[in-house]
């Protein structure tokens, strides 16, 4: 499974190069903004995949880390000079806070069985949402506040490239992470925690590490998201964000890293076009209902997600080819014997 990650890097480099060249060949501002959103949510979904896909942890509180990143960057850029240096500092600060927070939350909650853990993260995330709403002096509550992005990012193309760069970097880091001995243990934990413990692993440590890694990269996505809007309010901490990450991961294919990127692409495009159809067809004013139906159908008919579905087809083809080779072997052997 892990070794399969290496070979496809060539195609990913080509894809990244095409995406990097896109704004220089297209003058569609809408498409540039949409692709930027896809890059950001792909980072969030990949971070969620570390939890769900690689460690088997279902969290309903992932938006908390996204929100921490969004608010840290927004508050620092709002209160300090909005320079590139300050942006980088704010991203680092957000990741640090999210890392500490996910470490503490993980240590407190990951001893619990999976469904209790999911409920606990939901409660914790709700607590942070309420805190953000009530701490008006800093967050301005649900009204939120606007702030200035660094001058470099005033240019949408530059921010697009920065978001793409972050996506590629996060993908490479997480690919390395899941292919490392640590990644192997996480997969083992996902498959059977007791079996992993009986090999001598203190599984709680590995689960907390996965939680920290996921929290840190979710915070990065949050920082980028707030800069893309140049606005932040408490919606960055709502359950909707966690559900988006969850569905992007499931629709793309859990435990694949590339799947969440595809999932983010499909969902962001679907959201964009379904809501756009409302201009011509009033029924699509309720596009969220159609979206819900798409989700249900996807989970019923593609439980392994897009990547899982493609892998299944490839495995079937390989299986048929192997069977065909096996079937031919006695014939070839007989011919060889005939020929002496």
């Amino acid at each position: 499974m892990i070794s399969k990650l290496q070979g496809k890097n060539f195609w990913l480099i080509i894809l990244a190069a095409v995406l990097a060249a896109f704004p220089f060949f297209s003058d569609s501002r809408t498409m540039t903004i949409l692709l930027t959103q896809i890059f950001i949510f792909a980072i969030l979904a990949m971070s969620y995949d570390i939890l769900l896909g690689y460690t088997g942890i279902v969290s309903f509180g992932h938006a908390m880390f996204f929100g921490v990143g969004a608010y840290t960057t927004a508050v620092i850029l709002d209160r300090m000079e909005p320079t590139l240096g300050m942006f980088i500092l704010s991203v680092g600060a957000g990741m640090l806070i999210a890392g500490i927070l996910s470490f503490i939350a993980g240590l407190l909650t990951l001893r619990l069985k999976s469904h209790f853990y999911a409920m606990f993260t939901l409660a914790l995330s709700g607590l942070f949402l309420v805190a953000a709403e009530k701490w008006r002096t800093v967050t301005n509550g649900n009204d939120g506040f606007t702030f200035r992005a660094p001058e470099l990012f005033q240019d949408r193309t530059m921010f697009y490239l920065a978001a793409l760069g972050c996506l590629v970097l996060v993908y490479l880091i997480l690919s390395r992470f899941v292919a490392s001995p640590m990644g192997r243990v996480l997969i083992a934990v996902r498959e059977n925690e007791q079996r992993t413990a009986s090999l001598g692993y203190k599984t709680l440590h590995y689960k907390v590490t996965a939680s920290v890694v996921a929290g840190v990269f979710a915070s990065l996505a949050g920082s980028l998201y707030s800069v893309s809007l140049r606005f932040v309010n408490t919606s960055v901490m709502t359950m909707d964000i966690t559900l988006d990450a969850l569905l992007m991961t499931i629709i793309g294919g859990v435990g694949t890293l590339i799947g969440p990127i595809l999932g983010a692409t499909v969902i962001e495009f679907a959201q964009h076009y379904l809501s756009g159809l409302a201009r011509d067809y009033p029924i699509f004013e309720r596009w969220i209902i159609f979206f819900g139906i798409v989700y249900i159908l996807a989970v019923i008919f593609f439980p392994q997600g897009i990547v899982g579905w493609f892998r299944q087809i490839r495995a079937k083809r390989l299986g048929k080819r192997e069977a065909a080779i096996r079937a031919k072997q006695p014939v070839l052997k007989a011919k060889a014997e005939e020929n002496g």
Binding site: M1, I2, S3, P181, R184, V185, I187, A188, E191, N192, Q194, R195, T196, A197, S198, L199, G200, Y201, K202, T203, G255
Partner: protein, 235 residues
């Protein structure tokens, strides 16, 4: 010879159920101790209790002179006890290579040498080196599960029903591997197939309704028709 493992009057509860109600056994260093008994007697729970997967509610477990009764599973394993659970328990989405690597406490020269040795015991695994565990046959999975426990320098191996659900020809190669392993480590084996158990076992512990009924040398049990009929249903 010295006692490597001793269980004294061990009781284990799983939820509200009192599964082990007084299991006592000893495993001498360098020997194969076979746990025998009917289905549901408590053999698997005994192994799981030694590993700390179902902690003992009372009684004591001593390994190499140390009390390990209350130790968590990972500490028990790191103390040098390898565990091969029943039902060909491999990591299905990891390849054969990754299954062995994840089991290694250290990826040093000694571990690699042990891996090479394990591959001589189970040459099939080399053929399917890059194949995911879930795509192996039942026999190959069992071999991988045993190989995984053997890549570390474990002094004691707990092996749970290695022949369960396997074809006779595969069972023979699994038993052959256990005989080889016996030269290097102490084994506590749960095995339903009495003739297989008698073929590799030096001593036995007979468990019935969660209690130890009898301990002794395997050759004595082979001769004791009454005991075999009463507790193992062998006529």
């Amino acid at each position: 010879m010295s006692r490597l493992l001793t269980l004294e009057n061990v009781h284990t509860h799983i939820g509200q159920y009192h599964i082990l109600q007084g299991v006592s056994l000893t495993a001498e260093e360098g020997e194969v101790t076979v746990l025998l008994g009917r289905n549901g007697a408590g053999k698997t729970t005994t192994l799981r209790t030694i590993m700390g997967l179902n902690p003992a509610s009372s009684g004591t477990i001593h390994y190499d002179g140390q009390d390990i009764t209350k130790l968590p599973t990972f500490s028990v394993a790191n103390g040098g006890i390898g565990y091969v659970p029943e039902d060909q328990a491999v990591f299905t989405t990891l390849t054969v290579e990754e299954n062995l690597k994840v089991a290694m406490r250290k990826e040093d020269e000694a571990a690699m040498a042990r891996q090479d040795y394990v591959l001589t015991l189970f040459p099939d695994l080399k053929k399917f080196w890059k194949k995911e565990g879930g795509h192996l046959s039942g026999g190959q999975k069992q071999m991988l599960a045993m190989a995984r426990a053997f890549v570390n320098d474990n002094r004691l191996m707990l092996i749970d029903e290695p022949s369960k659900g396997l074809a006779p020809i595969v069972i023979e190669s699994v038993m052959e591997a256990i005989r080889e392993m016996k030269k290097q480590t102490t084994i506590v084996l749960v095995e339903q197939n009495f003739s297989m158990a008698a073929g590799v076992g030096d001593t036995y512990t007979l468990i019935d309704d969660g209690k130890t009924v009898q301990n002794g040398r395997m050759e004595e049990l082979v001769r004791d028709e009454e005991l075999k009929r009463t507790y193992l249903g062998i006529a």
